[in-house]
Amino acid sequence: MARIIVVTSGKGGVGKTTTSAAIAMGLAKKGFKTAVIDFDVGLRNLDLILGCERRVVYDFVNVINGEATLNQALIKDKRCNQLYILPASQTRDKDALTKEGVGKILEELSKTFKYIVCDSPAGIERGANLAMYFADDAFVVTNPEVASVRDSDRMLGILSSKSKRAENNDDPIKEYLLLSRYNPKRVKLGEMLSVEDVQDILSLHLLGVIPESKAVLSASNSGTPIILNEESNAGQAYLDIVERYLGEDKPHRFIDEDKKGLFGRLFRS
């Protein structure tokens, strides 16, 4: 039986796909067979972030429509043999995803996979609703910025009312906060909401803080999930997040400003 994780945020551009790619790779590298699914029908991008865009033959909608089998559509990652990607369709038909179709695919994946990561599109339309509907855990990706925090709160409302667990009166979806693009320097100057501020407002369990990092753009440029860049702060932050999610007790990092002196700054990569 697989555990289904939805990576959601409401607002666009906060780092959902970056997070999905990193978390999925992280779980796979820990030895768990993991599938990551792109729910952004019409605006496929997870393939690009994972660097497998040229290997896409069949997609999510092909499988739902019975035009391909799940095994034909799943792309096996070349760096980690425990990671598989199910790309979104580029069709413009937004209604291509159905609850029955998605449910059937998740059920089939559950037989052989340990974790299924659902990369939600922005917004609150069909793709986003279906990405979260079957979830056991929700990773709410939030930036320390008013619009993102508000939208995250909105998503929490939807998670607690419009999921399968809510409809069946099961235990609610476990919700976790991932605060990304965090800049401790600006927080200290009073220019940016702090971790505590965001937690006060959203009252969510903090899974980790991902610092703003130049390495994230470089990683997406090359199609390498950021978690594979173990030198970067952001890569380490995602590794911490995966380990905390798996139950390890890791103290939070990257919340306070780097206390390295001039010497440290000069020689930092």
């Binding site: 910025e145 925090v149 940016m192």
Partner: protein
């Protein structure tokens, strides 16, 4: 004096402002999250009926919906104008 003020005044803390705005907004949105969608229309129609008999302002009427496990309550509040002074 003015020079002293220049050194005293620090930059306004915009993060604090952001937090205050968000706390108010989020509290408001949470309270209206489970409200039925007909509430604004109901409020509008009630206002029209009352205005047939009494002259009241748009904001003199408030409709509040609350629900818990036990029951759902619809709270209606109408502020009547002060009677004319004789």
């Amino acid at each position: 004096m003015s020079l002293l003020n220049y050194f005293k005044t620090t930059k306004p803390n915009s993060a604090k402002l952001a937090k205050e705005r968000l706390q108010i907004l989020v509290a408001h949105e949470r309270s209206s999250r489970n409200q039925p969608s007909y509430l604004p229309a109901l409020q509008q129609e009630l206002l029209q009926v009352i205005q047939k008999y009494i002259q009241i302002d748009q904001d003199a009427i408030s409709v509040h919906f609350d629900s818990d496990d036990e029951q759902e309550t619809l709270e209606l509040n109408i502020v009547l104008p002060e009677p004319p002074q004789s």
